[in-house]
Amino acid sequence: MDVLELRFVVYRHFVDTGSAPTRQHLGELVGDLDTADRLLRELHDRHMLVLDDRPVRRGEIRMALPFAAEPTDFRVATDDGAWWANCAWDSLAILAALHSDGRVRSTWSDTGEPLELTVSNGELDSVEGFISFPLPASQWWDDIVFT
């Protein structure tokens, strides 16, 4: 399995299960853990996914943008499943990637009030508000988890 095929496997796993495949699972698919780790690192270095650098989950997948591997404040649902998004943009991006109508549940960052966005018939329903980007685009990948 080459690196781009592994990328596809990772994304399909997110779509089908709502969660990231583990290193162990990918190691079984590609033959051994070292090969899985090498391919995952290449995808990370090419900004095609983000590996976890926290000690307890080091080397596991943390993000395959726009999907998040662990619960966040952005929950996306369609009639076919539900996923965690990394940020407000990614929550819309999940529906765009799936080419699906659906719903985003989150909270307004200024008031803490619940927020629901809906995409229906391929269009985002009208809502008043802003999405904030904390860093300029040239710095997004300096720390993509913070971004």
Binding site: L4, L98, L124, F133, A137
Partner: protein
């Protein structure tokens, strides 16, 4: 943001997706009108 999401991520689940160059990515931002210095990918 919805328009940008569709352009940026619409092909992400395709088997053939192999990433984009910086120039291709910049064009996606330009095409939705995000052209100020804040949105420039190259430092």
């Amino acid at each position: 943001m919805w328009t940008l999401s569709q352009a940026w991520y619409g092909d992400r689940l395709e088997r053939s997706f192999s990433g984009r160059t910086l120039e291709e990515t910049q064009r996606l931002l330009d095409d939705v009108g995000l052209t100020t210095p804040f949105w420039q990918l190259r430092p």
